[in-house]
């Protein structure tokens, strides 16, 4: 089979040569952030261990907050309210700012779920191709690393189960069309009378859970590593938060 191996190698090389001189692409800040987190995970530095379920539930309860943010450049589908505000950012240029003077805030309403400590919240939001706004929350402020870059805290207590996202999009978002469905299970549920989906997905770091639910104005997503029962309990505890935000990071396109 030596000839066959040589042929395979040659064909692979030809495939690659087509792309070796591809134009440089400026990856989004979200992509770079995710890759940094993945690198830290793979390197074993403060490697997040797979948490026992009891601990995960406790962590998730302490971790979730939610905010309604956003501004869309007019392209929000029917059925969901467009939140007024100022669209952030400069055309075709990614930037980050931790100061709302540099970048107008789009936050209008912050939601909280039961169990979230008032003094432990950080928020980032970003306008993705002008079509939706997603928001992420962590249970503690980002901290500077050795080079002074702000990083998401990275240990067992502060890893994945602490994020929650808000999507302002159509119900088509629910389809998870880009997810490898071989590893996904989902169930249809109800939260406060609105349709909801509970989705679990096996990832290399453990089980991810998502609860998507439809409210009057938004589709909310709770992301973490929790049971269906706990996810519903958290979703039903949603309430408007009027406390101070100690850290607010903004990312715009």
């Amino acid at each position: 089979m030596n000839n066959f191996k040589t042929a395979l190698e040659n064909v692979m090389q030809k495939d690659i040569e087509r792309f070796e001189n591809s134009a440089e692409h400026e990856f989004s800040a979200e992509f770079e952030k995710n890759m940094t987190e993945l690198s830290r995970h793979v390197s074993g530095r403060k490697r997040p261990k797979r948490m026992r379920i009891g601990r995960v539930i406790a962590a998730a309860a302490a971790a979730v907050a939610l905010f309604a943010a956003g501004t869309l450049a007019g392209a929000v589908s029917s059925g969901f309210k467009v939140v007024s505000g100022v669209r952030m950012g400069l055309p075709s240029k990614l930037f980050t700012a931790a100061d709302t003077e540099d970048c107008p805030s789009t936050v209008e309403t912050i939601y909280m779920l039961d169990g979230f400590p008032d003094n432990q919240i950080s928020i980032s939001d970003f306008d993705k191709n002008g079509t939706f706004v997603s928001s992420m929350y962590f249970p503690a402020p980002w901290k500077p690393d050795d080079e002074g870059n702000m990083r998401m805290p990275w240990d067992d207590e502060l890893y994945l189960p602490k994020t929650i996202h808000l999507f302002q999009e159509t119900k088509e978002t629910f389809k998870f069309e880009y997810t490898d469905m071989e590893y996904v299970t989902y169930e249809t549920l109800t939260v406060n009378g609105g349709q909801a989906y509970f989705i679990t997905r096996e990832r290399f770091y453990g089980l991810e859970s998502y609860l998507f639910w439809e409210s009057e104005n938004y589709i909310f997503t709770l992301k973490g590593s929790f049971s269906e029962e706990r996810a519903l309990e958290l979703a039903n505890s949603l309430k408007v938060y009027d406390g101070e935000i100690p850290f607010y990071g903004v990312r715009g396109v």
Binding site: L8, M12, I16, S22, H25, M35, L38, V42, Y178, F204
Partner: protein
């Protein structure tokens, strides 16, 4: 560190491949991100991040993730049939008798997903289970792809030999 080297070396190449397939920058980024997660999960199979093996794994994984994304968009894609059972020994003899250039032509006639499974199982000598894990497909699916790829190559070569 191995993963950081992989990221630095191949993110541009992987994006180029993903964009070529998906024709959308955001989707291509999503695919590249998913590919790096898959590579991280299989990092033990990569001996050296600067090696052709690492580069080829990055390409194969990216391509297959893109094909899965396309499939989920319901864009026309080949659907893997059920496992095609056959005895490989006669095909192996037939393949072994072919020249490199002829085999290259046969491989180039294959859809990339079939080339990729052959690359992993024949060139890299991964087991079907290892290849399936890397590609994010089931063992049965991987087995089906290998069988189908071999059959397509044999058919191509037989057709050429009749010309």
């Amino acid at each position: 560190m191995k993963f950081d080297r992989l990221y630095k070396n191949y993110k541009r190449l992987m994006f180029g491949i993903a964009y070529d397939i998906l024709k959308n920058e955001q989707d291509a980024e999503d695919a590249v991100q998913e590919a790096f997660i898959r590579l991280a999960d299989n990092i033990d199979k990569i001996a050296d991040a600067d090696s052709p093996q690492a580069r080829n794994f990055s390409v194969v994984v990216t391509r297959n993730i893109c094909f899965n994304m396309l499939k989920k968009r319901h864009i026309e894609m080949d659907i893997d049939d059920e496992v095609v059972c056959s005895d490989n020994s006669a095909e192996d003899d037939f393949l072994a008798a072919q020249g490199v250039e002829t085999l290259e032509r046969a491989l180039e006639s294959l859809p990339e997903k079939y080339r990729d499974i052959l690359y992993l199982t024949v060139y890299e000598e991964l087991s079907l289970r290892e290849a399936a894990k890397l590609l994010g497909i089931t063992y049965e699916n991987a087995k089906s792809r290998v069988k189908r790829a071999r059959k397509k190559i044999s058919d191509f070569l037989k057709e050429v030999s009749y010309e």
